[in-house]
């Protein structure tokens, strides 16, 4: 049913209602139903715009006061009423990228194993728990990170500093335990199951005959994966990685608990530093005046902007792949 026919039946108005009574009644039901569901669909779009509008409105005072200097300054001082967010933006991005560095090889490796190598009996035992891990609430990761992982990382950091302290990345306050390294590792653990699950789905779309053809020509299994399956799926895999990046940047609770809460620029792997999300989480209820609150919402707006750009990229890549995939099979 197109919009046009509905509008035209509407415009004929009540005069014809008496004449074609029966069809009127059914049409009325359909029309009403169409309008109702259309309203819900419009609400979804409205919600998206409301989100953006609300964030801008909340951040307006800070935007007016600091403008774009907010993004490049390094001071976060509630006492002097001076706010800017560069150190936390850098902290967020550094943590997210280190997490990707750790997570991507492991996830793609796992995904390839699950898609192509795994013996059939082992598949449910390995594959299903990974999906389960993707559903674990981030607060549970945070709790585990704080009480189990941070002590281990602290020991590693102290050892690294004692033996390799001359290297600038290891020349930081090792004894805290919480910091860039802890934050990155917990993020990596959290995004591994997501990247693995999406990559596996994408790898399973690689047409089997292509791999089998490669095998029939005498290639080893690894060669057929490396030269056929991975190139075929690379766009989608890149999308999966970007999806993981988006998650890592927006992640809040776990990073709040193990990432350290400092506003200073980082100089080493061991420095504690806020992420944008953790900064909002830990300061918001303590913000005592409106410019403070507004600045935190401004941070939220920046975070939102970054994740939206990343999410759009991921959508585009996965969409492009699924298009190609449909074309292959039709």
């Amino acid at each position: 049913m197109s919009d046009q026919t509905i509008d035209s039946t509407f415009s004929t108005g009540s005069a014809t209602r008496v004449v074609h009574h029966d069809t009127r009644v059914t049409n009325f039901g359909d029309r009403l139903f169409y309008r109702v569901t259309q309203t819900f669909a419009l609400i979804v779009i409205l919600l998206a715009f409301l989100l953006v509008f609300d964030l801008f409105r909340g951040a307006w005072e800070a935007i007016q006061t600091f403008g774009l200097k907010f993004l490049v300054g390094t001071t976060w001082d509630p006492v002097k009423r001076e706010f800017s967010t560069l150190p936390t933006v850098i902290g967020t991005l550094v943590k997210a990228f280190i997490a990707l560095l750790l997570a991507v090889p492991i996830s793609i490796g796992s995904a390839v194993f699950i898609s192509f190598y795994i013996p059939k009996w082992l598949r449910p035992i390995i594959s299903y728990p990974i999906e389960l891990l993707a559903g674990v609430p981030s607060i549970v990761f945070g709790l585990w990170g704080l009480f189990v992982m941070v002590p281990v990382i602290r020991a590693v950091q102290i050892w690294l500093k004692a033996n390799f302290g001359w290297f600038f990345l290891f020349d930081g306050p090792a004894v805290y335990g919480v910091g860039v390294l802890s934050g990155s590792v917990i993020l990596a653990i959290m995004i591994i199951p997501i990247i693995t699950a999406v990559s596996r789905d994408i790898l399973l779309t690689v047409p089997r005959p292509q791999i089998e053809g490669m095998l029939a020509l005498g290639a080893t299994k690894w060669e057929s994966i490396w030269q056929v399956a991975l190139p075929y799926a690379r766009v989608g895999l890149f999308g999966a990685v970007i999806l993981g990046l988006g998650r890592a940047i927006g992640e809040t609770m776990a990073v709040t608990m193990v990432g350290g809460n400092s506003f200073d620029l980082i100089h080493s792997l061991f420095d504690p530093v806020h992420s944008m999300a953790s900064q909002i989480a830990s300061e918001f209820t303590e913000a005592t005046y409106s410019l403070y609150v507004s600045s935190l919402i401004y941070v939220g707006l920046v975070l939102f902007g970054i994740t939206i750009i990343i999410s759009l990229c991921a959508q585009y890549l996965i969409w492009r792949l699924s298009k190609g995939h449909v074309a292959v099979f039709e």
């Binding site: 779009i45 490796g109 389960l132 591994i192 199951p193 609770m253």
Partner: protein, 288 residues
């Protein structure tokens, strides 16, 4: 088949075999690391959590800080209340929009809505909290369970929309056509044929959204906020389980830490059960 190979050929062959072995071993290692962390986390939560759970933990109220004993009943009930209320908001919107997107193919609106939903799933939960704060808490002047529900609903809508849309897509067109051919109006075809046929998948989506929201702490920080007392009034601050884990885990008392593990155990169990249920539903569906 056996032929004479030159040394170079043989060496090349051995190299390829070694690569194959190495790659296989690497992938096994990767998978082992993934699974290792999984079982580490599950194991710790079960080990530390299960031992701290007793009847009093599930039915008691929190005691003043520093005193051991007491429970998290208020947070359990609060979480269920806030999330259930969010489902009430999100279900009609998500389901209605999904019906529109799938059953009334329109040139642009349908695709735009679906696209928006996919983008909205990527919005960080802390930003959703800010949104609910600016939308509800600031005008109302206080933290409230209701604002928490709205934040959760915002997280749920795209999940419900996408899963429902996928469910409707799987309904064979012949069923719709059969119904329409019998003279049944389109809206009754949708309500009487399409919805019942896809009900398990719809339910699965709703359960998925429910369990996803149940574990989210970030949007509750400045909406539902938390409350050490018994409260069923959605107009007031209300305790939720993930918020309670955050407060207890970052607090200074050992007893609190134990309770945080126990509460995590409860959350994990809910996630586990819903996930197993979802799988069972989907499997049952594919066998039909």
């Amino acid at each position: 088949m056996v032929t004479q190979h030159s040394t170079a050929e043989r060496r090349h062959y051995q190299f390829r075999r070694a690569t194959e072995r190495l790659a296989g071993a690497g992938m096994v290692l990767c998978t082992a690391v993934t699974v290792f962390f999984l079982f580490m986390i599950l194991g710790y939560v079960i080990y530390n959590g299960a031992s701290a759970i007793d009847w009093n933990f599930l039915t008691g109220l929190p005691l003043p800080p520093g005193e051991s004993g007491g429970g998290i009943a208020n947070a359990l009930v609060g979480s269920v209340l806030v999330v259930a209320c969010a489902v009430l908001f999100a279900m009609p919107i998500g389901l209605g929009a999904a019906i529109f997107v799938n059953e009334f193919p329109s040139a642009r609106l349908g695709r735009t809505v679906r696209f928006m939903a996919e983008v909205l799933t990527g919005v960080p939960s802390i930003v959703v909290g800010l949104f609910a704060y600016a939308l509800v808490v600031r005008p109302m002047g206080s933290f409230s369970g209701l604002s928490g529900s709205i934040a959760y609903a915002f997280i749920m809508v795209p999940i419900i929309l996408i899963t429902s849309h996928e469910a409707f897509r799987l309904v064979p067109p012949s069923l719709r056509e059969a119904s329409l051919a019998l003279g049944v109006p389109k809206w009754r075809t949708i309500l009487g044929v399409v919805l019942p046929v896809s009900r398990t998948a719809l339910l699965t989506g709703a359960v998925l959204a429910f369990s996803r929201a149940l574990g989210e702490a970030a949007p509750m920080l400045f909406t539902a906020f938390g409350n050490p007392f018994w409260n069923l009034n959605l107009g007031k601050p209300i305790a939720t389980v993930p918020m309670l884990i955050y407060t207890y885990a970052t607090g200074p008392y050992d007893d609190w830490h134990q309770k945080a593990w126990a509460a995590s155990f409860v959350l994990m169990m809910v996630v586990l059960v819903t996930s197993v249920m979802t799988r069972a539903f989907l499997r049952g569906k594919s066998h039909e």
